[in-house]
Symmetry: D3
Subunit: 248 residues, 6 copies
C-alpha cells in the first residue's frame, strides 16, 4: 500500500502573525536578510484579492516514462500520488505542485479540488495548470497557476512521482512544511526558522507610512516624505497627536 510522509506544521500563532504582512514585505525582508529570491515565479493569482498563509504540502510531477507509469496503473486510484497529497490536507494547508511549467497537464480537476476545499485547504500553487475551470471556479478556491487546460494530469507528458519531498516550483526550492505567503503579488516561500525575524522586521517601520502616503497623494515631495525626512518628523508627530485626539 502506498504510504507518504506527513509534514511538520509551524505553530498556529506564527501563521497568524504573518497574516497581515503580505508577500511583498516578506520577500523584501528576506531579500535584505540575504535570501535573494523566494518568489515562486510563473504561477499568478486566478481570483484577485485572495491572501493566504500556511504550510506547504508538496507534490512532485516528473516527465512521464511509460515503464514507470501507465494507463493500467491509473486503474487503481489508491496508487495515484496526486490523490495522496490531498489525503494529508489539514485546515489551512497549502498544496504546492512542481508541475515543471507544463501547460498541457491539468493536475487537479473539479472533484479533487472540491475534496481539498472540504478538508479546509487554504489554497493551491501550481507551476502548471488545473483543469475543469468552469466547475472549479464555483469553489472560489485561492489559486496561483500558470494557466488552465482541458487535459487531465497524466494525459500528455507528466506523471505524479512523490509527495512531501523537496521540490522546485517556479524556480524556488520548497521544503515540505515551509510557509507559503500568497497574494496578488504572487506566492513566496518563507522558511519557518526565519519567520520570527521576518515578523519582527516587518512590524518595525510602519508607523509613519500612513502619513507619508497621504502627503504623497497630495503631491508632496518624495524626498521629504519617503522615507520620512527628519525635517518632516515634527509635522508628522503633530499629525499623530491630532489623530489620537480626534479618536478620543
Amino acid at each position: 500500500m502506498t504510504h507518504t510522509p506527513d509534514i511538520t506544521r509551524p505553530p498556529k500563532d506564527m501563521i497568524a502573525a504573518l497574516k497581515d504582512i503580505g508577500a511583498a514585505t516578506v520577500a523584501g525582508t528576506l531579500g535584505h536578510m540575504g535570501i535573494r529570491n523566494t518568489h515562486i515565479q510563473g504561477p499568478v493569482t486566478q481570483n484577485r484579492g485572495k491572501s493566504i498563509v500556511g504550510p506547504a504540502l508538496t507534490l512532485q510531477m516528473m516527465p512521464k516514462r511509460e515503464d514507470l507509469y501507465d494507463e493500467g496503473e491509473y486503474a487503481d486510484p489508491e496508487k495515484q500520488l496526486h490523490r495522496h497529497v490531498l489525503y494529508h490536507v489539514q485546515e489551512g494547508d497549502i498544496v504546492v505542485v512542481d508541475a515543471r511549467g507544463d501547460m498541457m497537464s491539468g493536475v487537479f480537476g473539479d472533484m479533487m479540488s472540491t475534496y481539498f476545499k472540504g478538508r479546509g485547504g487554504a489554497g493551491i500553487i501550481v507551476d502548471g495548470c488545473l483543469r475543469d475551470r468552469p466547475n472549479l471556479e464555483k469553489l472560489d478556491l485561492p489559486l496561483w497557476l500558470r494557466g488552465w487546460t482541458p487535459n487531465f494530469h497524466t494525459q500528455t507528458n507528466l506523471m505524479p512521482f512523490a509527495v512531501n519531498v523537496p521540490i522546485a516550483c517556479g524556480d524556488v526550492t520548497v521544503i515540505p512544511g515551509d510557509i507559503i505567503i500568497a497574494d496578488d503579488d504572487g506566492a513566496v516561500v518563507l522558511p519557518p526558522a526565519l519567520a520570527p525575524e521576518v515578523i519582527a522586521k516587518a512590524s518595525e517601520h510602519h508607523d509613519w507610512e500612513e502619513y507619508s502616503r497621504m502627503k504623497l497623494m497630495q503631491g508632496a515631495p518624495l524626498q521629504r516624505y519617503y522615507p520620512l525626512h527628519d525635517d518632516a518628523r515634527p509635522e508628522y508627530e503633530a499629525w499623530k497627536l491630532e489623530q489620537a485626539a480626534a479618536k478620543r
Copy 2:
C-alpha cells in the same frame, strides 16, 4: 477572382449533443481513446464564462514574403484572404486562425469582427492576436486568443495565405470542418468521426457525481466518494431515492 473552398459541416444534432459536455470532458475522453492531445495551447478565453461548439473554418497566415504579398496587393480588398474566410461564415461557425503564435499582428479588427457577428459566427480562436480591443469588446464575441495588439494583420511579419486548408493552431492539427469545443479551459478539436463515441462515453459516468461532490465538500473521504466506492453505493442509492421523493 479569388475562390476558396467551403467546409462540410457536422449535423446540427451532433453539435447540440456536445453543448453541455465541456472541453475537459472531450479532451479527457479523447485522451483515453488514444488521441493524446487535442487542446489548442496558447489561445485563452478573453471573456470568461463563454462556451461554444461548432465547426472550424480555417485561415492560414504565413511568414510574409514581399514578393508574394505587398502593400499594393492590399489595395484590392477582394484579394485579402482574411476577408474570404469570413465570407464562408454561417450561423454557429467558428473561425480558427493559424497565426503562428505571432504577437505583432492583429488578424481581425473591429469591422471584420462586427461582420463575423452579423453573420452569426459563434467565436474566434487565434494563436496570435486581434486588434481594436476597445471597440471589439462591445461585441462580446467569444474569443480565445494569445493577446491583443494595435498592429493590423500584415503590418509586420505575417500574410494571409490560405482558407479552409488543414492548419496547425496551438500545436494541434485542425482539419476544416473539425468540431471545436471551447470554454474557460481552452479550445479543443474533436474530429467529427469520433464525436459519436465521445458523446456516448461522456454521458456514462455522471450519475453519482453530484452526490460525491456534496460529500467531498463536507470533508468526506476521497477514497470513499471519488470514484464512488462500492461500500458507499447503498447510501448513495438511498440519497437518490430521497431526492426523487423530495421532487415529487
Copy 3:
C-alpha cells in the same frame, strides 16, 4: 549630487488631438507611413478600459553589477535613479521603463506609485513588473506591465542605471519626449514630429464607418460595406441625411 535631464514635452493641443484616436489607429497609420512597428510588446493593460496619451519619461534598468550598485548605495535614497525619474513627473506624463523583460524585479511599489499619482502622472509602462499589487491597485493608476512580483526593484538581477535616455522597451526604441498612446490594445510610441500627419490621416476615413458597422451587424455583405462600395454610397448618403434630419 545626482542630476538627471528633463524632457521636452509636446504641445498640449497635440496631446489633446490624439486623445480619441486610439492605439490601433496610431499604429496602423504609422505602419502605412513606413514605420512598421511602434507597439511596445509584452506589457499589457492591468486595469481594462484605461486610455492615456502623454509624453514619455524614461528609466533604464541594466543587469546588476555589484561593483556599480550595491546594498550600501541603496542606503542613500537620493542616489536611487528610479526615484529621480519620478521627480520629473508633471501632469499628464507617462513613465516608460526598460526593465529588460525581467519578471523578478518590482520597479515601483506602493509609495513610489502614490507619489507618481500625487504628481498627476498619467500612467506607467514597464516591460517587467511592479510590486505591492494589493496596495497599489487602490490607486487605480493606468498600468501596462508584464506582471507583478513581491520582489523589490534591485532584489535580484537589475539596477536602475539612467533617466531620460533613449531606451528599448518591449522591442521598440523610445526617445525621451516621444508620445505614448496606450489603451486596451497596448502601448504605442508616436514620434512628435510625425504626430501632425497621424492626426490628419486618422481623422480622414471615419465618416461612413458608423453606417457600415450598423449594416455589418445586420449581416450585410462585407464586400459592399467595408470599405464602403461606390454602389452603397447613395444609400449611405440618404441615411446620413435622415440622421441629420432626426437630430434637428
Copy 4:
C-alpha cells in the same frame, strides 16, 4: 495509392549562375530589393564549408493526431510521406522540411539519407532534427539542421502531412520550386522570378573589392577604401594595370 505532385525546376544555367554568389549576397540583394528576410532561421550547417544551390522539394510535418496517423499506418511504408518527398529527388535537388522547430523527431535516418544521396540530392534543410548521426555522417551530405536526436520521425509529436506544398521553414515561406542557396551563413530562399535581377546586381560591384580588402588588411582607412573613395580610385586603377601587366 498515394500520389504527390512534382515541382517545376528552374533552368540549369540559372542555378549555375548562382553558384558563386553566396547566401549573404543573395539575402542582402533581396533585402535592398524590398524582400526583407529570406533567411531560414534556426537550421545551421552541420558540416562546415559546404555550399549548395538548387530547387526546393518540400515536406510538411504537422502536429501528430493519432486519429490521422497511427503506428498501424506506419506498417505500410508506401503511405509514409517522408519517403514520397525522396521519390521526387533529381540530381541537384534540395529537400526542405517544415519540422516545426521540433527537437524530438528525427525526420530522416541513415537509410533514407543514403537513398537521397544515391539519387544525387544536393542537400537537406530541416528546422528540426535528423537521427542516426554516427552513420549518417559518413555520407558527408550537406545538411542544415537545428540538431540531432535518436528518436525516429513520428516517435513523439509530429507526423508527415504533405509533400511539395508551400511550407514555413525557419520563419520563411518556401514555395516548392523556390531556389535554395545555402552555405556557412545559413540557407536562403530565392524566388526564381527574382533570380535574374539578383544575379545581375550581385555581379555589379565586385571590381575594386580585392584591392580594398588588401588595403584594409594593411590597416588602411575604411573611409578611403570601403566603399572605394573617389580619391583612391586613381591608385586603384594604377594597381589594376600593374596586376594586368604582371599577369602578362
Copy 5:
C-alpha cells in the same frame, strides 16, 4: 558526516551487449515498445565520435536558497554534494546531472573532472554547463552538455542538493542505476528491466541492411530496398552467397 547512497549496477554483459547498438536504435526500439521518449534533450556531444554505455549516478541541483546553502557551507569541501557523486564513481559509470537547463553554473571544473577520469568514469551528461573548458578538453572525456561557462557551480542560482535520487534531466526521468547510451545523436535512458528486450529486438533486422545501403547509394529504388521487398530478396540472397564465397 554526509553520506549518500550508492546505486545497483546492471551486469557487465548487459552493458557489453549494448555497446554496438547506438542511441538511435535504443530510442527507436523503446518507442515501438510504448516508451515514447527517452532522449535527454538539450545536452549535446562536446567531442564528436564518442559512444558510451553505462549506469547512471545522479546529481540533483536545485534553485539556490541562501538559508540552505551559503558560501560558509562551501568552506567544508566534504559537505559539497557535487563531490560526493564523484566518490561513488566506478569504472564505466556515467554521471548524469539535473542542472535545470541553467547556463550560468559550471557544475564541474578541471580538477573534479580529472578525478572522475582517474576513477575510470565513462562520461558526463549535464542539462547545463561545465567550466574550465581550456583545461578540461585535454582530458578528452566524453561529454554531453548544453554548453560551457566560466562561472563555478554555485556562483549564481543553483546549489547541489542530492546524490543518487531520481532526477529529471533534459525532460526525461532518470532513476539511479538506469543505463545511459550516448553517442553523436545524444543520450538515451534505458531502464535495465527493458534492456534484454531491447537487445533482442535490436539484433533482429540487421541482415539485409548492408546490401540495401549499397544499392540505395547506387540510386536504386527505396521501394525495393528499404525495407527489402520480397521481389529483391533473391538478388540479396545471391549477393550474400557471393560475399561469403569471396571471403573464403
Copy 6:
C-alpha cells in the same frame, strides 16, 4: 559630422598580467569577491582555442525605427555607427556589441572585419550574429557570437544607435573600457578597478595544483588531493624537491 567618444584603456601591464589567468578564474574570483555574474551569456567561441584579453569598445544596436534610420541614411557611410566603433580600434582592442540577441542581423561582414583585423583588433563579442562567414573565416579572428546570418546589419529589426556607451551584452553590463577576458569558456567582463585584486588572488593557490592533478588522474582520493589535505602536504613537498632536483 558624426563624432563618437574614445575610451580610456587600462595599462598594458595590467592586460599582460591577465593573459594567463583564464575566464574561469576571473569569473570565479569575482564571484567570491561579491560580483556574482560577469559572464556574457549567449555568445560562444566560433574558433576554438582562442584566448584574448583587452579593453572593450562598445556598439549599441537598438530596435529599428524607420523615422530614426532608413535606407536613405544608409547612403552616407560616414553616418553608419557600426563603422565608427571600428574607427576607434587600436592594437589589442575588443569590440563588444549589444545586438539584443537578434539572430536576423549580421552586424559586421567580411570587409568591416578585415579592417578590424588590419587595425590590430584582438577580437569581437556579439550577442547576435555576423555575416559572410565563408569569407570571414579566412581571417581567423577570435569571435564569440550567438551565430551567423546572411542578412546585413540593418536588414530586419536593428539599427546601430551609439558607440562607446554602457551596454548590456548577454545579460551583463559592459562599461566602455572594461577589460574583456575571453576563451573557450566564454567572455567575462572585468572592471579595471578590480583587476589588481583579481590578479593577486588568481596567482595565490596554484602551487600544489599540478601535483594534485597528477594524483587525481591516477585515481587518488579527491578528499586528499583537492584541495590538498594537510596529511598530503609532506608527500607533495617531497615531490616538489624531486622535481626541482630533476630540473637541475
